[in-house]
């Protein structure tokens, strides 16, 4: 059986009495693409924010790679190899596309103040290597011709792509993707998920992704969780989700 990489136990987070995440227990298998679906306001993004450390959970535990990570600062969770994207891209607007990619490097020697002065040669070499890598990723997501442009000049869809490319720079173990294909055209959406599958296979990454297009998940996901009013109400392989009466009801509304 595959190993579990992420596990939450009774995770709860509320805002002013409203339980946005209510007693959520779930597991994500290593090297899988796991989908998370659910209607608006069902708590998907809050769940991601809690896992990635943006919010502190009120109750419950989060294990990543066997280690407790709940309550850690976001940057520490990232250092452990768990990265995320946002629903509306949060790019560094005035930085170039290439710099946006480069910022996300983990343990870059030139990212420490003393090394900036003392180890210029070392970080310069590393910088060259990382720049190559960044450009290769940019080529894959077809943004390499914008490399010198400020991120603010990209279109909405390109911004989503850049945000995805940015987290790929870091060689994370696992990625939380918040609607990676929202606002991009259907062809590109499909390609994004093909890319995700390819990355999973080539780099043995794990993806946990919020996505509302079931047809995409049908093709690419291994497992799907369904969230409603803060709780997980169903989990199954994607092809069964569409048949699940509860899920269809939640989405379409009770008759």
């Amino acid at each position: 059986m595959e190993k579990t990489i992420l596990k939450t136990e009774n995770l709860t987070k509320s805002f002013g009495g409203l339980k946005a995440v209510d007693n959520v227990t779930l597991t994500v298998k290593e090297n899988s693409i796991t989908g998370l679906i659910g209607p608006n306001g069902s708590g998907k993004t809050t769940l991601f924010n809690t896992i990635s450390g943006v919010y502190k959970p009120e109750r419950g535990k989060i294990y990543f790679n066997g280690e407790r990570i709940d309550g850690l600062a976001p940057y520490k969770i990232y250092e452990k190899g768990l990265a995320r994207t946002f629903q509306t891209p949060r790019l560094f607007q005035k930085l170039t596309v290439l710099d946006n990619m480069m910022v996300s490097c983990r343990s870059h020697p030139g990212d420490k103040i003393l090394n900036v002065f003392l180890k210029k040669r070392r970080w310069s070499e590393e910088e060259e290597k990382l720049a190559e890598k960044a450009l290769e990723i940019l080529e894959i997501i077809e943004l390499d011709r914008f490399k010198d442009k400020p991120a603010s000049e990209l279109s909405g869809g390109q911004m989503k792509l850049l945000e995805l490319g940015r987290v790929l720079m870091t060689e994370p173990k696992m990625l939380l993707l918040d609607e990676p294909a929202a606002g991009v055209n259907p062809t590109l959406a499909r390609r994004i998920f093909e890319k995700i599958t390819q990355l999973r296979d080539e780099l043995s990454l794990t993806f946990f992704t919020i996505e509302h297009r079931i047809e995409i998940l049908l093709e690419h996901a291994d497992w799907v969780y369904v969230m409603h009013n803060g709780s997980i109400i169903a989990e199954s392989p994607p092809e069964e989700v569409v048949k699940n009466k509860v899920v269809v009801d939640v989405y379409l509304g009770e008759a």
């Binding site: 990232y78 005035k94 020697p109 900036v116």
Partner: protein, 310 residues
């Protein structure tokens, strides 16, 4: 000020001293996005530390070194509570901090003469040389210090580190989830910026040879802000030119008063012009005269070669 050469040299020295402050504020605000409204506090720490040591007979090199570290240390300590705050709170707290510090120097005569101020020995004491030569030496010292600060600042901003602080300025949360210990970077930049302000304060005190609490009013902080905003935030060369421009303006206001017989007090006129210009720049050219500089690292070169390949 009858002799034009002396006047020009004097202005050049002031430009140098303020350019150091502008570069230091640029590291904090222009690159990292920190609203330090108390720049003058760290300048003051540098000035007083250096002056007190000089009066005790220490050589100038020791004075300026200790002043740098003292200002940096005060900056570091102040940054610990302050940098956890949002931009608006940070501004209020740093501004108030500068004022409190000034009050302490004003009230505690035993530190440095209180309101009476203290006279400060010049860094260089050679007898029998003409004033022009003395000023040239001053100029050399100040510009050597500016060169070092500029070099340090450029090295910092043209590095992966410099990229990270800009990212923090653009979006703190995104930087955090990309693994950056935001607080650490902010504290380091605040400390470095404060240390540079200490250098500037030390140079200032030995040049004007007298300091008192009235030297360190908040207007000084905002003169530096104007240099940064006018020159172009996140452009080190730009803010130095901003320093030249603002100095020229200040002197211009004085000359205008002398020669045009304006019915306005030159000091009032100067501050009023600065106040209005700050507003006008923010309204009509908030990005400043010079655009933000690029992050210059070997990555740029790799990127330019990439162009040829595809």
């Amino acid at each position: 000020m009858s002799e034009p050469l002396i006047y020009v040299l004097d202005m050049a020295v002031f430009v140098g001293i303020f350019a150091i402050l502008a570069v230091s504020l640029n590291l904090e605000y222009g690159f990292t996005g920190l609203a330090n409204f108390g720049k003058v506090a760290f300048f003051m720490v540098g000035a007083y530390t250096s002056s007190i040591l000089a009066n005790m007979g220490f050589p100038y090199l020791a004075c300026i070194t200790v002043a740098t570290f003292a200002a940096g240390f005060v900056g570091f300590v102040a940054s610990l509570p302050a940098l956890k705050l949002q931009a608006d709170y940070l501004a209020i707290v740093t501004l108030a901090f500068g004022e409190i510090l000034r009050f302490i120097f004003k009230n505690e005569e035993w530190i440095a003469g209180g309101v009476q101020g203290i006279t400060v020995p010049s860094a260089i004491t050679i007898t029998g040389v003409p004033i022009q030569t003395m000023m040239l030496i001053q100029l050399t010292i100040v510009y050597a210090a500016l060169a070092i600060c500029y070099f340090i600042a450029q090295r910092v901003v043209n590095s992966p580190y410099g990229r990270t602080i800009r990212a923090i300025r653009e979006d703190e949360l995104a930087a955090q989830v990309l693994g950056k210990d935001v607080f650490k970077y902010k504290a380091q930049m605040f400390t470095l910026g404060s240390a540079m302000a200490g250098v500037s304060g030390s140079l200032f005190s030995q040049y004007v040879r007298f300091i008192d609490p009235y030297t360190f009013e908040p207007i000084l902080t905002f003169t530096v802000w104007m240099m940064v905003i006018l020159g172009g935030p996140a452009n080190n060369l730009g803010v130095i030119l901003g320093a030249v421009f603002v100095q020229a303006l200040e002197r211009g206001a004085r000359i205008a008063k002398d020669y045009l017989l304006l019915p306005v007090d030159p000091h009032n006129l100067r501050v009023m012009i600065i106040g209005i210009l700050i507003i006008l720049i923010l309204m009509y050219r908030p990005q400043g005269l010079f655009r933000e500089s690029k992050v210059k690292t070997p990555a740029l070169e790799v990127a330019s070669k990439w162009k040829k390949r595809s």
